[in-house]
């Protein structure tokens, strides 16, 4: 299966529709021939997920699984999958968007009810795996929304807004990275970097302090663990516009991992591409920053320590910087939030810390 890296939104939509239709036709043909329809897809089981050092993300291995409607245990998820394809086709062709929660409820209208949201989410993941597109390509978006602010002009492709443009500085709270923005084309930008921020408070502070102007940056709020749409959006900013990406998180193992998932992706999404930004940099707050800036801290909890030990063995963390920071965390046994810089005044982080860290990168 070839992984698409097209950026033209319209073209992509056409390709998505085609592959859904091809999927339907193949099933139709099998049944017309009097055989039970079956499909094949890469296995997503743990033993088929590998870390790909060159791609710098998790990928699926060679193992493939076959699902057939002949099998009594397969037929229900099989039918759900076909329904999900049908539903995605409806969404995509009518240019409507939907959420995972919507999918779960919509199924009921077709007497295709799912046991729970987990089951319907799993079916959408199956569909991604079978067709090699990610769910956003089928116009299915997650609930959580993050935001962007900065000098980037986009052109909408969603119905009713086609051709309309928007500059992402037009709203002081930032613009939500929702379906409309995700499917927008990039028109122009004066920015030369992207700064991703974990927390809403700091994001607002950066806008107030005009960080976007002073550092020529697009500011992205990840709002905790970045949603897939946001990761994809950061990927596009990096790939299509060639902008380097810097990530600021809390100084603890969890903040570290928020940065890592933007950089190298997660095992859960090993079947999808275009979600990672391998060249993005984690700029802080590092454990060594805690020491260097004498930040107010909290002690690491048992769970924090456990998480650190896990990360230490994780192939994504094998680089020197990561290993050093993990060790430092464990050594000092303390963690600090981004807000900790406020002890030096509200603007210290922007005036002193940020320039130093961008320099460092």
């Amino acid at each position: 299966m070839s992984w698409k890296t097209k950026s033209s939104i319209a073209e992509k939509r056409k390709a998505v529709l085609e592959s859904l239709e091809k999927f339907g036709s193949s099933l139709y043909e099998q049944m017309a021939r009097g055989v039970f329809p079956s499909i094949e897809m890469p296995s997503r089981s743990i033993d088929n997920i590998y870390y790909h050092p060159e791609l710098r993300q998790y990928v699926l291995g060679e193992k493939r699984v076959r699902r057939t409607a002949r099998n009594i245990r397969h037929i229900r998820p099989f039918t759900q999958l076909v329904w999900a394809a049908f539903f995605s086709h409806e969404l995509t062709s009518q240019r409507k968007t939907s959420t995972l929660r919507d999918v779960y409820y919509s199924a009921q209208a077709y007497e295709m009810s799912f046991k729970d949201q987990q089951e319907s989410n799993a079916i959408i993941t199956d569909l991604e795996t079978v067709l090699g597109w990610s769910r956003e390509d089928f116009n299915i978006f997650p609930e959580e929304r993050s935001a962007i602010f900065g000098d980037l002009t986009i052109e909408y492709t969603v119905p009713g807004y086609e051709g309309r443009t928007l500059n992402l500085t037009s709203h002081p709270d930032g613009v939500m990275i929702g379906p409309a923005l995700t499917s927008a084309e990039f028109v122009k930008t004066s920015a030369d970097k992207v700064i991703a921020i974990e927390k809403g408070g700091l994001f607002t502070r950066f806008i107030e302090e005009r960080v976007h102007e002073r550092f020529n940056a697009l500011l992205v709020l990840t709002a905790g663990q970045a949603p897939r749409a946001t990761r994809h959006f950061i990927h596009r900013l990096n790939k299509e516009l060639g902008l380097p990406v810097y990530i600021f998180t809390d100084g603890d193992p969890w903040g570290m991992h928020i940065a890592m998932v933007i950089i190298s992706g997660s095992a859960n999404a090993a079947h999808v591409r275009e979600l990672t930004t391998p060249d993005a940099k984690w700029s802080g707050v590092w454990a060594t920053d805690i020491v260097k800036y004498k930040l107010p801290t909290d002690p690491l909890s048992d769970i924090d320590f456990k998480r650190l030990r896990e990360l230490q063995r994780d192939p994504r963390y094998k680089d020197e910087l990561w290993q050093r920071e993990i060790k430092t965390f464990m050594k000092i046994g303390r963690k600090a939030e981004q807000e900790a810089f406020s002890r030096y005044g509200l603007t210290f982080i922007v005036d002193e810390y940020l320039p130093a860290k961008l320099e460092e990168a």
Binding site: L20, E21, F23, G24, S25, L27, Y28, M31, A32, G34, V35, F36, P37, A69, R70, I72, I75, R76, F78, T79, V82, W83, A85, F86, H89, Y110, E111, M112
Partner: protein, 506 residues
Amino acid sequence: MAQTFQEISPSDFFYRNRDIAGFTNPARAIYSAIRELVENSLDAAENIGVAPDIYIRLKFLGEAGREAQVYQLRVQDNGSGIPARHIPSAFGQVLFGSKYKLKQARGTFGLGGTMAILYGQITTHQPALVISSTGSSRIYMYRLMIDIQRNKPLILDRKILLNKEQWRGTIVEFSLEGDYFRAMSKIVEYLKQTALVNPYANLTFVDPRGRLYKFTRVTTRMPTPPKETLPHPYGVDVEIFQRLIQVTPTRNMIDFLRTHFHRVGETTARKFLEFSKIPPSKNPRKLTHQEIVHLVRMMKRFKDFLPPDASCLSPLGKDLLKAGILKELEPEFVAVCQRRPSTYAGHPFIVEVAIAYGGKIPRKGDFTIYRFANRIPLLYDEASDVSVKVIRSMNWRRYKVTPDMPIAILIHICSTKVPYKTVGKEFIADRPEVRREVLNGIREAARHLQRFLTKREHVNRERKRLSIFAKYLPKIAQFSTQLAGKSQPPNVEILLRSVRKFELEN
């Protein structure tokens, strides 16, 4: 001090020990009275090959103290009737009966019916009324009491009526103390179970409240009647031996053995006499007491007697058993099994077993157990019965059976001498020969049940499987048709037919 010695009559003895005959308390007494009369009536009809029609009426007469009331019990049947000259003794004398001969019957000692009347007389001091005809031109009517000390009937009144309608049968009516309300559920249960093992009988019961219980026959076919038989050497004791010697017309041991014992021929008789070192020419009347004891002992040790045959038995048979169960229990499924005749201590017996499942059988967390002996239901002392012990000892999971299933297990033992543990005729003793037959019978029926359950499970699973395919395949067809932009969905009927493992009934 002088001690007084006194002989008591059998009536007196049973009166003093009425517990052992089932007349322990007012509730139990009324149950036992009904039961004894009904069983006499069933015997009387079966003896002449007539499908029994029995009418039972219990009438409230008045209060009698705190615990008991006075009732009048009347039981009427269409049985053989009793020859006029025997009527007084049949009901006025304990241990007088027509069932001493060796063949399967419900009554045995000439005790039951008479005991009931005796109990009635003791508690109410009223005479019993017996009306009977053998179908001749006369009907005899006796009003009688029992002279307890002398074990003799006292005839108070006797009438002879003309039998224009050619009526045949017996009516017994007497009053007794009892507690119907405490006995009610047992009595109804008794009648229901009696109807179950006698599916060719009509039973009608009118209770003191005027309620009518009717158990209607589903067939007029009756089990083959038992043949009278001689005692088998293994089952003989000194008492029987001595009685035979007194009545025998034979003059040598060979003839004696051949004439009075079951399945003993010339050859067996000779071999046995050689074994016990008694001269074949010996006159049996000349046997000494020591020789008699010796012979009885030898009889138990001699290995070459032929086993008793079972023509003296009258099992219900698979068809009647099934009919009775279907009629009274209305299950979804029933497996019946009849074991081959077997013997214990020289007494032939046959075990019949049935297991019924589902339908109206209740789910009560444990099996419902029905026990019968010579077509009598046994309702008391269930826990001590050999069948119950066997059922408890079995590994039911092997048969895919759990106690929460709606299952009834029925065990019928018939024998010329049912191995009751007590005189009360309530439960069967744990004898290895009987236990083995019961166990094998239950196992056989359980295997049938297992086959049924497995098949049903298959059918259910298959039905469910098919319904899953039938639910989803058309949807797959529908959605892929729409995805592919076709107008006609592919035909999934062929696919549906191909997943069918076997044809399902209905």
